[in-house]
Structures are given as C-alpha cells and as structure tokens.
C-alpha cells in the first residue's frame, strides 16, 4: 500500500474537519485510537465556557456497544453492579462493572432505549469481556463506536443553544433522560448527561450528519457563548464534578500487569452503585466478602486542600508522618475558589482525626518549595449547581 493514511496510528473523528480547523494550538492527544483536541485556543477560556456559557466537546471516541435481544436485561444485570431492571426505557444510568474478584473493570453510562435495547458507553474497550459475559444469554452485542458520532454540549446556556437549533422541547428533558430530536433535518438522540457536573446534553448521531450538526449548533450558539472545548478543560470540569477518570483515579480492568493494582467499587466510593439484593452479578461474592469482612484496602475521598497549589500526584501523610494515601486527581478550582483533590486513602485513615496533609512540591522558576498542606474531607461533587437538576432546564 502506498496510501500514507493507512500507516497512520490514529483515526479521525467525524468532526475532524471542524475541530482541526478550530484547533489553533495544534495540541492533540490520542483518545482510544482517535486524535482529539486537547486545547483549541486556551484552556481557561474553554473551561469558563463550560461553567458560564456553553462548551461543545467532540466525544465520538467514546466506546459504544449496542446490546440488544430478549436476554439483554438479564445479561446487563449480571454484568453490571446496579439493578438494570430499575432502569426505565428512555433513561440513562451511571454504571460500573467488575471482574470475578470484585475489582472494577470500568465505569460508564447505560442507555435504555426500550425493553430489549441498550447502549453501554465507556472509556476503554471491553468487547472480549462483553462477549464472554454473553455466554448463556440471548443477546447480541455490537461495537458501534465508529457508527455513532457524539457531541457533548455542556453549560448553563446549553439548553438555550439546543432550543435555538430547533429542539423546542429540550427544556422538558429531565436529567438522565434521553429522547429523539431534530436539528436541521437530522434526527438524533439527545440525552441530558455529561461529564461536567453541570446542565448539559450529549448528542448521538450518524457520522454522516456530524458536520451539519456541528455547524447548526455553532450557528445557533454565538449569542450564548458556545465555545469548542478540548480534553484538558473537560478534565477540569470533571474533577469539580467529582467524577472518576479511568486509568487516572483507578485502573481499568485488564490494564495493570501487577497484581493487586485494581480497585473494588467499594474502595472507590461507588458502593451506591452496588446492589447486593438484585441477585447475582459479576464479582458479587467477592464484594460481599469485602463488605462483610471490612476488607477494603482503600477509601476514595474528596479533599479540600489548604492553599492554592494543586496537590497533583501528592502523597498524603497523617500528623505522625505515616503515609496515609495518594492524590489521584487535583486542581485549583476556579469556580469553587479552592484547591480540590480526589484521593485514595489507605483503609482506616480518617482525614480529619488523623490530621492528614498533602505533601506538595512547587517549583518557582526552579526554586522548589515543599508545602505541607492540611486537608479536609469534603463531599463530592465539589461543584454542584442547582441548574444541573432543574427541570424545565435553562429557564432564566
């Protein structure tokens, strides 16, 4: 083959013609095999667009599996830790799944279109695990990552942008609900979901309609501050929202080569996702033993860190200088006006009673300073605006 394209190691998303034209930094990253914009112009501007106006993010590389058939619900109920029977058609749920040892393999979102049709979205690819899990169930599983393009429109004016683009009834869509809408003659699925912890929507459409839909939203949005957003700004919003990032706050199943590096959902603050009463699911016996024997090794917490220096990758110590855990995600939150962190504490550590502090190293033009910043445990999400939950949405 002399086609140079065939030798490329990354794919382009259906929005590439637009995203590449707008990416003035030429700062790209590899997301699940797709080249994606890290920063279009300025990470702060993109972040504030998500918090104060509307941000438009290309989420096409998100892994998507269509799961259909008479056994789909039973299959998912055995695969996932939540009770899928409680998820009604037209709804979306945040879900997690475990291996035999009760260790988290990944988290994601589950869309229920009707009784027998679902879509599971996650960061990592899991087709072999899903196919193994399908043994004994009457279910069809298809990887539709390439045949479904995705856009995330997030922020306080996102609802208004969609209304201007022609989705008149979008305000009535409840959080974690999905429905069909039409933009510029294109029929697409919109769900009121997102990774920013704010009012926002995710749009799912055929790749062939990608550019037209992008243009329609951008045309509808100027007065509402619509701004393309890259992955770095998204990461800021997701930390404020308190969401976990695979391979940052936990390792996705199959990733680690060393034993003991995976985390159970109970160790990741996801106990609320685990329904022990719904019958068997992957990892249930191991998780039950972990719960009953109080055998969790870690506890995931949100921290408010003193000062304004992000505690990125910091070790945590207690007041006697013993290691108490590590920070997995941290930032200075412009909206909360606080240094916030997601941390994995060793079992038995109490942040406040044990006087936990973060060991932060800061370079000021190559003069390093060590900051011992006291921490307080705070609830996640760190940022949790009422507009995120309000329906009808986007009312001024």
């Amino acid at each position: 083959m002399n086609d140079a394209l065939s030798l490329r190691q990354v794919l382009e998303t259906p929005f590439h013609a637009r995203t590449s034209a707008l990416c003035r930094t030429n700062h790209w990253g590899n997301w699940a095999g797709y080249t994606t914009v890290q920063v279009y112009e300025d990470v702060q501007i993109e972040y504030f667009a998500a918090r104060n106006a509307a941000s438009l993010f290309d989420l096409s590389p998100m892994t998507k599996y269509d799961i259909e058939g008479p056994g789909a619900e039973a299959f998912l109920n055995r695969l996932l830790t939540r009770d899928v029977r409680k998820l009604r058609a037209g709804r979306v749920a945040y879900v997690a799944w475990c291996d035999d040892d009760g260790m988290l393999m990944d988290d994601g979102t589950l869309f229920r279109f009707d009784a027998d049709r679902f879509r599971l979205c996650s960061q990592e690819r899991h087709l072999p695990w899903l196919l193994d899990s399908a043994i004994g169930f009457d279910v069809d599983i298809a990887d539709v990552t390439e045949s479904v393009a995705g856009l995330s429109l997030q922020g306080p004016t996102s609802c208004e942008v969609l209304r201007q683009a022609g989705c008149r009834d979008i305000g009535a869509l409840r959080p974690f609900a999905l429905d069909r809408f039409e933009i510029d003659g294109v029929t697409l699925v919109i769900s009121r979901t997102g990774f920013t912890g704010d009012l926002g929507y995710e749009l799912w459409l055929p790749p062939g309609d990608a550019l037209a839909t992008w243009d329609a939203l951008m045309d509808a949005g100027p007065l509402h501050g619509i701004t393309p957003m890259g992955s770095l700004a998204l990461d800021m919003t997701r930390i404020e929202a308190g969401f976990l990032q695979a391979n940052v706050d936990f390792l996705a199943g199959g990733r680690p080569t060393r034993t003991g590096r995976l985390r159970s959902p109970l160790e990741l603050g996801l106990a609320w996702l685990v329904d022990f009463d719904k019958g068997h699911f992957n990892g249930r016996r191991a998780l039950l033993a972990e719960r009953d024997n109080r055998a969790s090794r870690y506890r995931l917490v949100g921290l408010d860190v003193d000062g304004n220096k992000p505690a990125t990758d910091a070790f945590l110590y207690d007041r006697r200088g013993r290691e108490a855990g590590v920070v997995t995600s941290a930032m200075w939150s412009p909206t909360c006006k606080k240094s916030i962190a997601i941390a994995s504490l060793n079992a038995g550590v109490d942040v406040d009673l044990d006087g936990v502090w973060a060991d932060i190293y800061v370079s000021r033009e190559l003069r390093w300073r060590r900051i011992k910043a006291p921490c307080r445990e705070v609830p996640r999400p760190f940022f949790n605006p009422a507009r995120r939950r309000a329906t009808p949405a986007g009312h001024r």
């Binding site: 055995r78 035999d100 695990w129 193994d132 899990s133 043994i135 019958g279 992957n282 249930r284």
Partner: protein
Amino acid sequence: MSTKHRYDAIVVGAGHNGMVCAYYLARARRRVLVVDAADAVGGAARPVGFGDLTVPFAAHLDYGFSRRVADDMELARHGLAWASNDIAGTAFGENGARLEWSLARDDTPSPLPARDAGRWPAFRQRMARFASVIEDIAGRVPPCLRGDGADARAWLAIAWRLRRLGAEDMREFLRIGAINIFDVLEETFDDRLLKGALATEAVLGHGLAPRSPNSVLTFLMRMASGGAAALPRGGMTALGEALRSACAARGVEFRLGTAVKRIVIENDRAAGVELDDGEIVSSSDVVSSADARTTGLDLIGAAHLDTGLVRRLCNVRGNGCTARVDLLLDDVGGLERDLLVRRLLYAGDMDTLERAFNDSKYGNVSSEPLVELVFPTVIDPAQKTGRHHLATALVQYVPRTADDAGERALDAARGVIGRMLPGLFERVVDTRTVTPADVENATGIHGGHWHHAEIALDQFFMLRPVPSLARYAMPVAGTWLCGAAMHPGGGISGLPGRNAAAQVIASGGRP
C-alpha cells in the same frame, strides 16, 4: 436448613462417581437422592442391549477402581467379583511380531532383546515408586495454596513424600515428570513393540500421543491405579450394580429415567433440583457428577457465575478421541484360543501412534488407529447370556468432530483387527459403535472425553478442572462437583466421588 429440605444432598448422575459420592454422604448420615436421566445406573458403563447380550454403554474395562473405595463400600458383599483382575496384554507389531506384557506384574515382557530385558526391572520399579507419589496425590483433596494449617500440613506431606524418594529418584522424577513418554521410552529401551505397548498405556483414553507433553504423567497415573486392566464378573455393568446395591444398603434413594433440568438456586445457595417434568425436589446440597462446564453452564447457569469462570469453563480441554466398537460374533471357534483371554493391542510402534494422533488433530479418523480388543464373553463366560460371543474394541484416535466417525472407526478397526486375528470379521453378525460424539449425546459429558477434562499438568490436582474449582465446590454455596473432571480424574477410580463427599461433609451442615 436440614428440616426445610427433603434431602440433605441430591447427586446428579448415577455414574460410578455419583454413586460413590452418594455412598459416602449417606454413610455420614445424609439423606441422599441420586437422579439420572438414564433408566439404569452406571453412567458411561450403564447396560444397553446388543443382540442377545447386555453390554456397557461405553466403558470397556476397569483400569483401576480404587481398592480403598471398594473396601469402604464392601463391594464384594454387594456382588462385585472379578472375572479377571488383570487381563495381560499381547501387543501386535509388523510382520507378525508379538509381545506379552502387563504393567501390573513384575514379569518381564517377552520376547525382548537381552538389553531391554535387563533394563525392565529397574524401569518398572522406578516407575512404580514414582507412581506411588502420584497415588498419594490422587487420593487427596487438593490443598489451598493460601490456606490454613491443614493445607500447610498437606503440602508438607506431599513434599515429604517426594523427598522420601531419595536424591537420585527425586531428580529423575523432576526431570521426566513434565516431559513425554516417547523420550523416556526412547532413552530406555530399543524394542519398538515394547515402546509402542508402553506408550499405549500412557495415551489410551487421552487426547495425547507419545510425543505430547504430559504423557509421562498419564503413564504414572495408569501405574498409580495398579496398571491392571480388569473385568468384573458380569461385565462393567456389574460394577454399577454393586455400587447401587451398596448405596441402597445405606439408604440412598434413586430416581432413574428422570433428567435434572437445572439446579435450583435461592439467595445464592443451592435449594434443590428441578426435574425435566417440572417437579422441584428440595435439598440443601447438590452434587453434580456431570463435567464442570455442563454443571456450570447448563445446570447452574451462567447467570449465577462470574464471567471469568465461565470463560475458563469453556476453555477446559476435554475433546474425547476414543471410540468403542462392539462386534457380535456367531462363533469364536477357529481363532487362536490363547489370545481370546488377553488384551490385544495393535500399537505398532510409537510412530504409528503419533501418526494416528496427527490425523485426529485435523479432524480425521486414522486408517491405522490404536486398537485395544478384548473378548468379554470368553474371559467371563457369565456374560455369554445368549448364543453370541462379544468382542469389544477401543479405537483411538477418533475425533469428536469427524464426519461419519462411527463408520470410519469401524472400517479402521476392521483393517487393524484383521491383522491381529485374521478371519475374525467373517464371524461378525452385528456391530455397534460409540463415538465421542455419541458419548457426549448420551451422557452429557461435554466433549465425550473419558476423563471429562484432559489429564495434564495444567489440569491436574489443584488446577483441575480450573484452579478455583479444585476443591470440588462451585461458587454457589451448596453446589459441588464430583465427576471425572475433578481431581484425580476418570478411569473409573471412584476417587473424585470420594474426595467430593469428604468436602461436602467437611463443609458442615447436617448432621
């Protein structure tokens, strides 16, 4: 728990392991029910009609039923006697060459060249010493790697058993333990027929050829169970009858002709079984003698198991490649009488076996297969219940997936047997073939393998059939495995059933 259920334990399958397990459970005062889809007990050795004779469905000879189990169950009192407790072998080679041998005896095979004859006693004694280590391991419930004091003591006992071999033997044991019988025999003996015959002992019933890894292990397993090939008086079906009688004497109940549709599970615990007519029989424990995959996927159901385990169950190696051919004979007159009371083996040499195996690897039935032929009605006149005589042959390698496997196995057997006993086929009035696919269909053993799961180091002891199930317990509380897929495997030893019962009893519950 005990008052809630009608039985303390239901054993699925009335094969020999199921009945042995039921016996030990009943001896420990459990109320036990054995359920089997067939109308008769015996599993793969259950009686079926063939002409005017009754023959076992598939099992052909007894290669080492555990003496300890036979004594515990007082099988002699329940009618078990031996027409022959060691049918010596005659191997046939090219150009009419013959060799007589028995692994169970000290006698040197003959005729042998002087150097081989000189090496035989040391070889056999050393293999017997190694086999005694394997025998020790075979009788044990595999201990946990990270277990309690009892597990640690079991590991120490095994290590001590190895150490007692002495430095030289231990070194040799570790050298040959995981290699193949071809290399071991090649470096020890010259006689091609001897090597072929001994290699046959290692591979018979296994999906292995002499050059396959693990074939020393299977040879030692064969020696560990005595090395004999025995025939109960009345045939292999008589063993099943004796087991049933011993069970019944302990109060075990039987429901035959009724298949178990599934194991009923409530709150992640066994609650009984559902029969094919929809009836639910309650029980606090359910012990399955089906293979691990069938038990997991069909009886328990994938929905109750974790994905990783399901995948491992689907990948258990256990494709049967041994077929059985029965010949109904109107007469055995005119045949060489001395041969008719022996195990007649067509093994050629080790390369013949290897080539036959190669054919099976690619889905073909070899035209020159391994054949073991016996005349049960001659060895045991009690089995001659009609006018006809019976010859039964094991034919290997017949892959499960081969088209027309039965016909082709019969054709291949005809050619090979014709060389051993010219004229035999002229006396044949009817034939019956049982291929691995037939075994699978009739008994539910996935793959139709004698041992339910290939015997190999990666599926042996604490790794059998898959690591997390080695202690006879399925993950759903109160569900157990007692079939040949469990340590130490098939070959009609009764040991998996005995070990499983010990685990069920040790788990507590009643009484």
